[in-house]
């Protein structure tokens, strides 16, 4: 076995690979850029080598620099992780030339699977189901109809040069095919100056399901079940799970066997992933093969008990697989949620900065990749991360902060474990998608397993505005916060300097107001907790170890866990739970009565203002006071993260006031200009 391995990557995947290397007794070498000087993967490694400036194209993906680090460290093998150089044939060649083992497939496999057209051809030859279609040129409308019939409706008529939906038509019958061909052709000619058209099968209710394969250099190959990755935003996977709630055993086997056949056809030797698109009738079609470790590999590890990184290293070391297809059993259910530094309330804009707080939920101590999850606990929590509290999310790399996985014997329990884990995950200082993930975990279509790749587009067409919790949940939160408030108030009465014998007594009756609803309740506290009786007669039993200042409250409400993120506001708490962000006021009945007299303050109308969407520097202002601007007209340019963002008029109006000029540095929501 190798003594030393270099991980040509950063962030969570570098840390993930090191974990297994350490387990195997292999010492680890990290590489890092200027931006990653204090990164977690650098701290974790046995040694670390600086390879250049922050931008990846000057450091992590410069083959010469990585090769230099390999020479310097004397590493015998390199794990590339994903992204960066992981599917770069030149890198694999460079390693081979110096006799360093590449923890990945042979160069030939990378090359042949790297090209979309070649890979599709090889797949077809290997007997893998591909999307039926006609790649040649189509002469006229009648030709289009003929080919459409051969492919089978519905079909997609696409411009060769197309993109962004332009020059694309879906046809369900001959008439539509004829018409679609003509309009696609015209549109393509106008938009791209290239009117070549081709036709392929249109996949309805598409799901993204992929097969994990593992092959050695001795001709053995197995598949380790599938992963369902249908929940994506702009082709970026957000939630993955294994197994898929959609596949049956027969389809799984067919997909698995075809995947292994494809891998073997290209002499594959390592872990790899064959991606398929699956339609509503469980027809599956080959999309592409990823010749590397996939981001979402943990869910496969959780249901199979196989450490994929370990297998990759062993295969790279020339060892034959010790697992046969018969050894592979899929046990329980695993779900992965990707935590991104993207603000869901601002159209998922990337957010960078200091992680002033980062406290992931506790991981299951007994679980490690390679352990059968069921042996580690009833429920397993795994969090793959490359950051730490006080660390920085930089603008140079992928905005993924962590991959949170849960495993349980059933899908339902795995989802429930994920909900609690998300509630317990504390991230402050930057915008992130935790609330959005919570919303997905509670979404009916996800819960019932009926999602397609259009899930986010269809279910969140206007983006994400937070979650409105159901009444029952609000009541539980009201009960919990009332008990918490009582604890805080009692502590306040213990301040020094009070008048003996005339102390303040904290009462039992409270009114909790949240999401616009008042809950009058009574607290009967004893040594184990409190019984909360609502004015409708219902009651709840609440127990918690929470003390003032704790930012996370683990509350037991009638035996069920309720995990709240707790912040302070005047007269109550800011509570975050299940994707909702609530202001909760806890008041005495008299305070509540008087609070009702307070006017509802309306937020200032910002529809007539141009607000700065991100912290940045005004580079130039394109208009002057009094100018009439048209919808879409450029108003000013803000530079943020070295990117110039042009801000445009949302509607026709006249500029009334300009508050900022070139060179001003603005914060989010600063008013740049006002309109009449």
């Amino acid at each position: 076995m190798f003594n030393k391995i270099l991980i040509a990557n950063r962030g969570e995947i570098a840390c993930r690979v090191m974990k297994t290397a350490k387990k195997m007794g292999i010492s680890t070498v990290a590489i890092y850029s200027d931006a990653d000087k204090n990164a977690l993967h650098v701290k974790m490694a046995d040694e670390a080598i600086h390879i250049g400036p922050a931008p990846a194209n000057q450091s992590y993906i410069v083959i010469d620099k990585v090769m230099q680090a390999i020479r310097e460290s004397g590493a015998q093998a390199v794990h590339p992780g994903y992204g960066f150089l992981s599917e770069n044939a030149k890198f694999a060649e460079a390693l081979a030339a110096e006799g360093v083992a590449f923890v990945g497939p042979p160069v030939g496999a990378i090359e042949s699977m790297g090209d979309k057209i070649t890979s599709k051809k090889i797949a077809q030859d290997a007997g893998v189901s591909t999307v039926p279609g006609y790649m040649g040129l189509i002469e006229d409308a009648e030709d289009a109809v003929k080919i459409s019939n051969e492919v089978g409706y519905p079909v997609m008529i696409k411009a060769s040069a197309g993109g962004g939906g332009k020059g694309m038509r879906i046809a369900w019958n001959d008439d539509e095919a004829r018409e679609g061909f003509q309009s696609s052709k015209n549109e393509a000619a106008n938009s791209f100056g290239d009117d070549r058209i081709f036709i392929e099968k249109f996949v309805t209710q598409p799901r993204h399901i992929e097969i994990q394969v593992l092959c050695d250099a001795h001709g053995n190959g197995i598949y380790l079940g599938e992963r369902e990755c249908s929940i994506q935003r702009r082709n970026q996977k957000v939630v993955e799970e294994a197994p898929s709630p959609f596949l049956d055993e027969e389809t799984r086997r067919a997909m698995g066997e075809q995947s292994v056949a494809l891998a073997q056809a290209v002499g594959y030797a390592s872990a790899g992933t064959v991606e398929f698109i699956v339609d509503g009738d469980k027809n599956f079609y080959f999309l592409e093969m990823n010749t590397r470790l996939q981001v979402e590999h943990p869910v496969t590890e959780l249901i199979t008990g196989v450490d994929l990184v370990e297998q990759m290293i062993r295969v790279a070391n020339g060892e034959p697989l010790t697992i046969t297809q018969d050894d592979v059993t899929l046990t329980g259910w695993a779900i992965e949620n990707r935590l991104y530094a993207e603000d869901p309330y601002r159209g998922f804009l990337p957010s960078i900065g200091r992680l002033s707080r980062y406290r992931p939920p506790a991981e299951t101590a007994a679980y490690l990749p390679g352990v059968a999850a069921g042996d580690a606990g009833e429920v397993v929590v795994r969090n793959d991360t490359g950051v730490f509290e006080g660390g920085e999310i930089s603008m140079y790399y992928d905005p993924m902060i962590a991959k949170l996985c849960t495993w349980a014997p059933t899908r339902e329990k795995a989802i429930e474990a994920m909900r609690v884990a998300l509630d317990s995950f504390e991230v402050e200082g930057i915008g992130h998608n935790l609330p959005f993930l919570s919303a997905v975990m509670d979404h009916e279509k996800f819960v019932s397993g009926q999602m397609t790749t259009a899930f986010i587009e269809e279910e969140f067409p206007d983006g994400f505005q937070g979650v409105a919790l159901p009444e029952a949940d609000l009541k539980r939160i009201a009960a919990a916060t009332a008990a918490m408030h009582r604890v805080a108030e009692i502590r306040r009465t213990r301040v020094s300097g009070r008048m003996d014998n005339h102390e303040r007594r904290v009462g039992e009756d409270w009114v909790v107001t949240l999401q616009g609803v008042e809950h009058a309740l009574k607290i009967d506290a004893d040594k184990d907790g409190s019984t909360i009786t609502f004015d409708d007669g219902s009651s709840m039993r609440v127990a918690s170890e929470w003390t003032p200042g704790d930012q996370l409250a683990n509350v037991d409400v009638d035996g069920a866990p309720l995990v709240l993120k707790v912040g302070k506001i005047s007269g109550g708490f800011r509570i975050r739970n299940r994707g909702a962000d609530l202001k909760v006021f806890v008041r005495t009945p008299r305070q509540a009565e008087l609070a009702k007299l307070m006017p509802e303050k309306v937020a200032p109308d910002t529809s007539k203002m141009l607000l700065c969407p991100m912290p940045g520097l005004i580079v130039k202002v394109d208009v002057e006071v009094g100018d009439e601007v048209q919808e879409g007209q450029a108003l000013c340019t803000v530079e943020a993260m070295k990117m110039e963002n042009i801000l445009r008029a949302e509607k026709k109006s006249v500029v009334a006031k300009i508050n900022a000029g070139a060179g001003d540095s603005l914060a989010v929501d600063d008013v740049i200009m006002e309109f009449e």
Binding site: K37, N38, R354, L355, S356, R357, F388, E389, G390, G391, E392, R491, R492, T493, R494, V495, S496, G497, R498, M499, H502, E503, R504, R505, G507, T547, P548, G549, D550, Q551, K568, S570, G571, T588, R590, Q591, L594, A595, L597, M598, P599, K601
Partner: protein
Amino acid sequence: MKDILQELEDRRADARLGGGQRRIDSQHAKGKLTARERVELLLDEDSFEEFDMFKSHRCTDFGMEKQKAAGDGVVVGWGTINGRMVYVFSQDFTVFGGSLSETHAEKICKIMDMAMQNGAPVIGINDSGGARIQEGVASLAGYAEVFQRNVMASGVVPQISVIMGPCAGGAVYSPAMTDFIFMVKDTSYMFVTGPDVVKTVTNEVVTAEELGGASTHTKKSSVADGAFENDVEALAEVRRLVDFLPLNNKEKPPVRPFFDEPGRIDESLDTLVPENANTPYDMKELITKMADEGDFYEIQEDFAKNIITGFIRLEGQTVGVVANQPMVLAGCLDIDSSRKAARFVRFCDCFEIPILTLVDVPGFLPGTSQEYGGVIKHGAKLLFAYGEATVPKVTVITRKAYGGAYDVMSSKHLRGDFNYAWPTAEIAVMGAKGATEIIHRADLGDAEKIEQHTKDYEDRFANPFVAAERGFIDEVIMPHSTRRRVSRAFASLRNKSLTNPWKKHDNIPL
């Protein structure tokens, strides 16, 4: 007998109605609470004892003898806030518009005298149209009686003013002399002369809100120390502030049970100061991470944001914090920030509240507007305040401590008790670039040489050790252990005894 007892109840009921239900409704319609409702929210439930409920004015001019209301437009008395005694007056806008008469003033003076004698804070809730014009000079005399008591009480018991309606003309000077002024957004304003007079005299057209609203006084004039959304929130926050303050100048600041480990280590502080010396960071993160339970009560949050002032607790005991904020103007000292911090330091010193100073200061803000504005004397205020303060003083230099600003920010030389520095501290006369350009003026044309000189300067001076070698820094500490170190430092200073030489009073550069 029963009738006699009943008469008391009837008279009380009448007095509690103030100016009558119609005016109470109109007060509510404006989004304001009544004087008594405010007192109720300010004090512990059922703890208020009212004085002079039946007192009424003695004016006989302009038919006033026919218009009398029990209480004469102000509710006064005492009660408790979390069991601690406070005195309170609350002006009743429903009675003669809360206007101040001779008797109204007498009521306020009565509780102020009691507060001084019994050593408890005074909280004034202001909602008044101004002087009772019908009373003429008697009303003005009333104001002055209150002013004189404000002066006498200053530094003896904490005085807090809450502006919950109009407060105009001479009336502003009573709050102005108290320790803290809080306002309610949209429903309160303070000015010496109102918009009408302004228009007549200067031709300026301005609304009451623009002239003296909460936003104006918290952001521009710094007259007010904080602004709140409504009456309910304002009173809850005043209660919270009182929990931090001693009842009088002979008492130690309050201590309460706390749920936080004094020795709590926070590793994330090791990365708070960015690699690049010109990159800002949020000093509030350090404050909240050091404080018990992350609780920070900020004073003048919206004014001179380049310096932060407010209260935290360490081991349950109140500590006043003054901190440069690198996020705003690089944390430099200027006229506004010096004035803001100086007043805060003096408040803490009056009331035996220990002071924690967090330093990251590149110096004083240069420029004509600063010099013409008298930055020399204003900066001297902060220097003076620190120099005369005898309370425990602990200082932590996180990054820059340059030039005269280093001296000002509670340095060892101003009788700092514990002066700590993080390893990232740079204690020097100025930044490396500026210093090099002066020391090596001859080499200015040679970029390479200057670069080398700059590097040499940085190596020699951009660290805490030169100061530590001289004992100006007691100890260089790890950022992650700041809470533990500072808590221990203050614990060791609990019996500190230091007095200044006898003087009638000092002559701070006002």
